[in-house]
């Protein structure tokens, strides 16, 4: 019996074995996930924000500053489930409260150096000037900051920073941000369009018409007219699926929608790998593991960091440690094989009490997911994709606009560029605040000065197209077709081993070919759920389609960038090459495929130097 | 085996049968109990809503009297157990709070300070840990009888404080019912709340759940309900008529205190255990 047949038989058998109960009245519901006026089709939003993480909600609050503006936040989940909640460390900003000697210049310099000089320095200056202000504002909004004796919020020092400048709430800085912004949004009566999967941005010619989305609850395809659309959909770490610390929702939906309407994907190859993800599932073990003294051992129990960074050893920067671990595994000194191969992270020399006191979460995660008591034995870890520096090109960081009129972007899905080739700790949350704020203001100002020029007909046409697509896709037979998870797993094999921590020309070329094959499979893949109600199988199908395009862009960007810089490491070009690559990759997508262009990095007063810590 | 008994208010009042039956059962099984002298109400899960510190201090006083006797504390009420254990938990985990409360006791002229030396257990847990106390004495009076064990809330939750067993999956009551010669039944309301503490805040809902619990036990084919909490017992028994009305049911279900069931199992009569003081199910109890 073939694998597929046995599976189907199982499903049928299980369904038959299931006890069919009648649907009772208590299960009926009238969804309020979408405002009534959207259902009726009689609202044109001034600002329609896609994504309800930190950037999206901060943008909504800015855009709704004037009560006359019609602002909505759309999310594929419900408002507080975003990747922002997972940020632990804090949000950087120069406030002068904890360390009066800190300066905007210092924050800018640290950021630029950390980004391996791929940051646009004017944007970084703009960012550093405003980060502190946004942190003060959050205090006024009710962010539960940890405090210092004088009553001001306290800031701590993060890796790569020369001053303590990260304000925080415990070890859950992002969680507190999201919930504070959500409280504000509830209070201000911001419209949420929840549980709607964005499918595309609809254009009537070169005029923005609105957004096409699937209402997960009804399966209806809805076209929402908007004068401006602000994309804040988060990163694309799920291109590496199990080898990422990102949530399941980080599938680059907004980036793909933006590329489709002509916005370039800037620096897609710039992906940050965190050295210590659990081998079994990519979940992050905090940086504090190493700062508390955990050591890394290969399968021969050799402390290999002595070889790669004789002085700092495990305390070397994230990228160096990640590359060292990847080298050990590649050269056969890792434990296990494939995506879950790893090296040992050993805590056993640290007193158990100290582990429980300071590394409680690391202890819990290791115990839960790997079944390992780290006070007694080492746990297997390997690098995990942690952050996407690349994203939709922000054409003007003063407004958050892209090169397509009416479309704005902010947060991890955007590329400003503030982070360059590598993001520093606690800069992501501040970026979300600064540019969420800026883009919200920018979009609202645009909406004020422009009439709606899209067309409802176009929206209806696009909805009809998606409906047909849904019907076709969800009723495909299983036989002869690969499933969505099968194709996704194949994509991860390609991305992790050929476009992961280390890259080289021939492997990247292979990766491009393999991705093309996966895309062929995708075109006829098996989804397996025809229901219109909360069809997560179809949603995952859409997300995989997005991830495949994201992966293509990563590979194209990596092929073209023949140097090593920040998160991008080419074995065949191990050095940074400022003469040829002090510039941004811009990947465009059209009917003919992917095309790369370049744009010079903006340098103001921080000339590129060798990055040394 | 000797314990300092914290009877709790209702055993002195409306649930006096719970006290008389407890005394009889303890005597029969050789468990020595000495009432904590001049104890006060535990706060009945309400006093902390007026003043948390006062409620804590009052219970520290209660516990300190038992500590002075050098005895562990035994309770027969879920809510008393929770209030006392919660006080102990907080005082034992927070030395500053303990010092503060001891300061209050001293200032008020109470002769003992709270030390944290007396454990606090519930009658159900004690019997579960020491089946030897009654095992030879079980007569078989409950043979074939289906009994619904109704835990109530405060003997299980919060888990951190009431950590005798898995709060999501307790089994002590069923184990005891079996050891007493009856057959425990599973019913879906066994861990529900009887609503006693919200009598005034949500009367209609409380009557509804009162009816639901009895009906749930009846659906499981139980012939009686036993509970380790006199407050649950009072709610389900005294308000039986209103409960039945609320859920439009005519099922009358005898609701026994735990010690009454033990008494019946070791050969006592209905009168011995004070069943004549019950409101509900007088004609339904076919033992003793």
């Amino acid at each position: 019996m073939s694998n597929e047949i046995s599976r189907r038989t199982f499903i049928k058998g299980a369904a038959a074995a299931g006890v069919v109960l009648s649907a009772s009245g208590c299960f009926s519901w009238n969804g309020r996930n979408i405002p009534e006026k959207v259902r009726r089709g009689d609202v044109t939003y001034d600002v329609l924000i896609i994504g309800s993480g930190g950037a999206g909600m901060r943008a909504a609050l800015a855009a709704a500053g004037n009560k006359d503006r019609k602002v909505a936040v759309m999310t594929k989940l419900v408002p507080t489930r975003s990747a922002s909640t997972m940020a632990q460390g804090g949000m950087n900003g120069v406030t002068g409260l904890t360390d009066p000697t800190d300066s905007i210049e210092s924050h800018a310099f640290d950021t630029i150096k950390g980004g391996d000089y791929l940051c646009d320095q004017d944007a970084v200056e703009y960012f550093a000037e405003r980060a502190g202000k946004n942190i003060f504002e959050m205090d006024y909004m009710g962010y539960p900051y940890n405090r210092q004796e004088d009553g001001h919020f306290h800031s701590r020092k993060m890796g790569g920073h020369s001053h303590p400048r990260a304000a925080y709430f415990e070890d859950r800085a992002g969680h507190a941000m999201v919930h504070t912004l959500f409280e504000q949004c509830l209070d201000k009566g911001i419209d949420f369009i929840s549980e709607c999967q964005m499918l595309e941005i609809s254009m009537a010619g070169d005029k923005l018409a609105g957004v096409i989305a699937m209402d997960m609850r009804t399966g209806n395809f809805i076209g929402i007219p908007a004068k401006t659309v602000l994309i804040a959909t988060g990163g694309y770490g799920r291109a590496y699926w199990v080898r990422t610390s990102n949530p399941y929702s980080s599938t680059g939906d907004g980036i793909v929608a933006g590329m489709k309407v002509g916005i370039p994907f800037k620096d897609p190859e710039m992906v940050q790998f965190h050295p210590t993800g659990l081998s079994v599932n990519g979940v992050l073990l905090s940086e504090s593991s190493r700062s508390e003294g955990a050591i890394l051992l290969n399968k021969n129990r050799e402390r290999f960091m002595e070889k790669y960074a004789p002085e700092k050893k495990e305390l070397a920067t994230r990228d160096i440690v990640a590359r060292s671990i990847a080298t050990e595994i590649e050269e056969g000194r890792g434990v296990g094989e494939g995506l879950t191969a790893g090296v040992y992270l050993d805590f056993t020399h640290i007193p158990a009490e100290r582990i429980h006191e300071r590394l409680g979460q690391v202890y819990d995660l290791s115990k839960r997911f790997a079944g390992v008591d780290i006070t007694k034995e080492p746990v297997l870890i390997s690098p995990t994709c942690h952050y996407s520096m690349g994203g939709l090109e922000m054409a003007d960081f003063h407004t958050g606009e892209t090169r397509v009129p009416g479309i704005y972007t902010a947060g991890e899905c955007s590329c400003v560029s503030v982070h360059g080739a590598n993001r520093l700790g606690a800069n992501s949350l501040s970026e979300v605040l600064v540019f969420g704020h800026t883009a919200g203001d920018g979009a609202a100002a645009y909406a004020k000065g422009h009439p709606y020029e899209g067309s409802q007909d176009q929206l209806a046409k696009d909805c009809a197209k998606w409906k047909d697509h849904f019907d076709e896709v969800t009723t495909r037979p299983h036989e002869g077709n690969r499933t969505v998870p099968e194709i996704r797993d194949a994509m991860v094999q390609t991305m992790w081993f050929k476009a992961g921590v280390f890259r080289n020309g021939p492997q990247l070329e292979e990766a491009a070919k393999e991705l093309a094959k996966h895309e062929e499979d995708y075109k006829k893949c098996y989804v397996g759920d025809p229901s219109h109600v909360y069809n997560t199988a179809f949603e995952q199908y859409v997300e995989l389609g997005n991830l495949l395009q994201i992966s293509h862009a990563i590979v194209q960007g990596a092929i073209a960038r023949k140097e090593s810089r920040g998160g991008h490491t080419r074995r065949d070009f191990p050095k940074r090459d400022d003469a040829n690559f002090l510039k941004h990759t811009l990947i465009f997508k059209d009917e003919t495929g992917y095309r790369a262009e370049y744009k010079d990095v903006v340098i103001t007063k921080y000339p590129p130097k060798e990055r040394k810590y | 085996m000797k314990y300092a008994l914290f009877p709790g208010c209702v055993l002195e009042g409306a649930a006096a049968e719970a006290y008389t039956s407890l005394k009889k059962v303890c005597e029969a099984i050789g468990l020595e109990i000495e009432e904590i002298q001049n104890w006060t109400c535990c706060g009945a899960s309400h006093a902390q809503g007026v003043s948390d510190l006062a409620s804590l201090a009052v219970n520290a006083r209660n516990i300190s009297i038992a500590e002075n006797l050098g005895l562990p504390i035994l309770t027969v009420c879920n809510t008393c157990t929770l209030q006392l254990r919660m006080a102990k938990y907080r005082l034992d985990h927070d030395t500053a709070l303990k010092a503060r409360v001891n300061g209050i006791l001293k200032e008020a002229g109470h002769p003992y300070e709270y030390k944290g030396t007396s454990e606090i257990t519930h009658f159900l847990w004690l019997l579960d840990q020491h089946p030897e106390l009654f095992e030879g004495k079980v007569t078989g009076a409950l043979a074939g009888m289906k009994v619904a064990g109704y835990y109530g809330c405060h003997i299980l939750r919060p888990h951190e404080v009431m950590n005798y067993e898995e709060g999501e999956h307790p089994e002590s009551l069923e184990r005891l019912i079996r050891r007493l010669g009856a057959e425990p039944v599973w019913f879906d309301a066994s861990r529900k709340c009887c609503g006693f503490h919200a009598q005034f805040g949500a009367e209609h809902d409380v009557m509804t759940v009162t009816g639901q619990i009895a009906a749930s036990a009846a659906r499981a084919d139980a012939s009686l309900v036993v509970t380790p909490c006199p407050l649950c017992q009072m709610q389900l028994d005294m308000y039986g008529p209103e409960g039945r009305e609320a859920v439009h049911s005519d099922t009358e279900m005898p609701i026994l205190h735990l010690q009454q069931l033990v008494g019946l199992a070791i050969g006592m009569s209905k009168e011995d255990v004070g069943f004549n003081r019950h409101v509900t199910g007088q004609s339904k109890l076919k033992i003793g």
Binding site: A14, A15, A17, A23, F27, W29, L77, T80, A83, T85, M86, F136, D139, Y140, G142, P144, Y145, R147, D150, R172, H175, H179, L186, D187, P247, R368, A370, V533, T536 | C9, A14, A16, T40, G43, H46, A47, G49, V50, D52, L53, A57, R61, R100, I104, A108, R157, P158, E166, G167, K192, C193, H197, A198, F200, V209, M238, P241, N276, R277, V279
Partner: protein, 318 residues
């Protein structure tokens, strides 16, 4: 080791229980098992999840009748707890179900709004310069800020199960207390009042919410603290507050509860009079004797002094 999962399905108006078997791997959480089923056995099984690190709150479900964060609990651990290879998985209780394990959050957000869920900063603070708060004052509410809105606390809430219209979800009370104890806020009394209006005194005190919180918060305790604040702000003119106060006063006046007078103290003479049939019923079986004089604890002076000293100490702290 194999686990049998009986999953409550609800799709397009049909409701049934479907049985799946999964091979239990090291580190397999309930979410891991659900994912494996969806990927390898049945693509139609629907559930919500996002971060799989117990911070986003998306994936709470009910296993054998108890709410759990499905990304956090191990299948193996639950099999051990329930001493069974068979586990039953349902959507959270006290939520409307959309499909399978996916529940409807919209009504919940509307309910959070009832407690005015936002800090109203004092006049001396500004958006430009932020606020001031001592570390000690921060410590008073920091635990409450850890709520992830996963809905576990309301799943087994006994009050919500009976009627949710005159009571809020425990997480909403947590938020109310968080803001009411945040010293940056100038309207603490308003938030407490909003909590009372939204059903504060209807809580059953069943402790299910506290038992279920995966982040170790204590919603039941939060409700009690809001009650105590309602006395501080003199918002105590309601039957629930009078009942609590009557019990409290009994301790101070006699040491124990005077059951025969509790009703009258809580509800007043008239309403208590309506309970006459009940009283007669109790007198009939000897459970109540209005003629009997309630005894007074011989150490009542000390007890009264304990209560007063505690009250004084509490006031000092405020």
């Amino acid at each position: 080791m194999q686990a049998t999962l009986n999953i409550h399905r609800f799709v397009d108006g049909k409701k049934w229980v479907q049985t799946y078997k999964v091979e239990v791997q090291t580190g397999m959480t309930i979410l891991g098992a659900l994912t494996e089923i969806k990927e390898k056995q049945d693509p139609t099984l629907s559930f919500a999840c996002s971060c799989r690190s117990s911070i986003c709150g998306a994936c709470a479900t009910r296993v054998n009748g108890n709410a759990e964060l499905s990304c956090e609990v191990l299948v193996e651990g639950l099999m051990k707890r329930y001493r069974s290879e068979e586990l039953t998985i349902e959507p959270l209780g006290n939520f409307r179900v959309i499909r399978d394990l996916v529940v409807d959050w919209d009504p919940k957000y509307a309910r959070i709004k009832k407690i005015r869920p936002v800090v109203h900063p004092k006049d001396e603070f500004s958006a430009e310069k932020g606020c001031l708060q001592s570390p000690a004052d921060f410590n008073k509410y920091k635990k409450l800020a850890g709520c992830i809105l996963c809905g576990s606390c309301v799943s087994e809430c006994n009050k919500n199960a009976l009627n949710e219209d005159d009571f809020l979800d425990p997480f909403a009370f947590v938020k109310a207390l968080k803001i009411a104890t945040d010293t940056r806020d100038k309207d603490a009394k308003d938030h407490v009042k909003a909590a009372i209006d939204a059903g504060l005194w209807a809580c059953f005190n069943c402790q299910e919410c506290t038992a279920k919180c995966p982040k170790g918060l204590d919603p039941a305790g939060a409700i009690e603290k809001l009650k105590a604040l309602s006395f501080q702000y003199k918002l105590d003119d309601n039957v629930g507050a009078r009942h609590a106060k009557a019990i409290y006063d009994d301790i101070q006046e006699s040491g124990t509860l005077d059951e025969s007078k509790l009703n009258i103290k809580s509800e007043g003479f008239l309403a208590a009079g309506l309970r006459l049939p009940m009283a007669l019923r109790l007198m009939n079986v000897g459970k109540m004797n209005p003629m009997e004089k309630h005894p007074v604890n011989p150490e009542i002076k000390t007890i009264d002094a304990v209560v007063k000293a505690a009250e004084a100490a509490e006031k000092e702290e405020v």
